[in-house]
Symmetry: C2
Subunit: 301 residues, 2 copies
């Protein structure tokens, strides 16, 4: 495909945009086939920022407002193809799945009572087991990603495998991201946790806080955030382990993320054998998710 192809993109509509991240996803067509362009502005180029507001880096400058010591400006910033202003991905031909993935998704707050869990969530979770989490079993069986294992505790009840999340490059601390996958296969999510699982949860906490600083000596235990998602994106119980520098956005927000320490503290308050099964759990759900479309969207509010 030559460079001229992207010039043939004809615009149809904005799928989503994020002014804070300077992000944009647009839908259009190239040669009668759907095309999605995902674009974002580039970050400031570290070696040149020392010249910010020097004429060669910032040729035009305007003072737009002044109040006391605060002066606001707008300016143009030098760019060329080696120091570009934007980076973009073209998906072409794009499928409906691509288009949905980059479409702005409205969200809803769900108050999932134990009854709604049985009626709606459990059948959905059941549909997500089997082949969809085979990749987890491949890791636990040592048939895939064996060389990526950071730590393994083989105890069938309290053991787990700790390995880097695919989102992490294994170098940059500000995006430090590991995942603890439990050995046992009977726990699908937060909802299944009760006081009998305290030894498992405490083992994950203490082992991760001990092992990670051994392997990454610049990381101290009080720089790690351990949390659980509900709903998770796959239904084999796992714990996220990130550096406090990591900005997780929605994945770290209340209404999706539960601090492991707080889950442990809550279970410790409960009577023997009790757990989250009996609780109403409140969380945010995207309207594009299967659980919303096939489940909660049909519930009368």
């Amino acid at each position: 495909m030559d460079l001229e192809t992207i010039r043939k993109f004809t615009f149809q509509r904005i799928l989503s945009e994020d002014p804070k991240n300077k992000f944009l996803a647009i839908l259009g067509e190239i040669q009668d086939q759907p095309a999605v362009i995902i674009a974002e502005k580039t970050a400031f180029d570290n070696p040149t920022v020392s010249e910010l507001f020097q004429p060669n880096l910032t040729p035009d400058v305007t003072l737009t407002e002044r109040n006391d010591v605060y002066h606001s400006y707008t300016a143009t910033i030098a760019q060329d193809i080696a120091k570009p202003g934007i980076k973009a991905t073209l998906i072409w031909p794009a499928t409906q799945t691509h288009i949905r993935k980059y479409s702005k998704q409205a969200r809803r707050m769900i108050r999932e009572t134990p009854e709604l869990y049985q009626q709606i969530t459990l059948p959905y979770i059941t549909s997500q087991l089997g082949p969809r989490i085979q990749w987890v079993y491949n890791i636990l069986n040592h048939t895939a990603e064996t060389d990526r294992i950071v730590y393994e505790d083989t105890d069938p009840n309290t053991g787990f495998i700790l390995l880097p999340d695919l989102k992490w490059d294994r170098v940059t601390l500000s995006s430090f991201y590991l995942m603890a996958l439990v050995n046992r296969r009977d726990l699908h999510s937060l909802h299944d946790l009760n006081t009998t699982h305290l030894p498992l949860l405490k083992n994950i906490r203490s082992s991760a806080l001990r092992e990670i600083p051994l392997q990454w000596p610049t990381v101290s235990p009080d720089q790690l955030r351990l949390y659980i998602h509900y709903q998770p994106s796959y239904y084999h119980f796992h714990v996220h382990v990130t550096h406090l520098e990591y900005e997780g956005g929605d994945g770290m927000a209340v209404g999706r993320a539960w601090l492991l320490d707080d889950v442990i503290a809550q279970l410790e308050e409960m009577a023997e054998g009790r757990g989250f099964e009996g609780r109403t759990i409140t969380y945010v759900l995207g309207e594009e998710s299967g659980l919303w479309k096939e489940g909660f969207s049909n519930v009368k509010g």
Copy 2:
């Protein structure tokens, strides 16, 4: 001050940067006085995005990678002073407080036991009462911001005042942000909550979910996120109410934010009269905060 002043800025060091938001804060000097520049790239300009990758908007384009339907590009994007590439604020002369405010702050995970609360947190909270929260009492007394009140329940035990947070422009739904300030003055934070406060917490929840859609008919109850900060930024008990579209970043992350629904659910599990006082509470603390500097930094880990 003429435009030439900012050209005299001499660079010293980067205070902080955020590649995701394309944000940068740098320290330097102008005429021997400290100066801080806060710069960010501009968002995509909505009316012109339909021309993205047309030669007039994107003069130079390079294909950097291709894998199946995914094509990666970099490009330059047209700008002039009316459609600038960056916006910036200069603070000059800048004080140490300005410099600290924009400096990258390391963070620590605190496991605050009931004993550490008594020893360290409580004396700190006590130092933050009185004149520092007079502004809250001015609202509760109707001596300030009276015209901004969205809803008021005058009950001395379960009542509260709901009003827009100063961060919100009162128009844009994606930054919808209200605050519920309780009438009673004996509750400083999450730590003080116990089962006797359930009527107060439930009243805030049900009243906010009822009143907000009455005043903003495009907002439905299942689009609102109600949460509490621990540690809060001021020690008069209050609840944050935001739209699910609002991206709160750190202020919404586990380790800082507690979903009101989950706090209620936890208290409902507890025996009569029990509460968070007896619990270890885990949270993230910035190393520039008073509670870290004057308190937890002195604790042996």
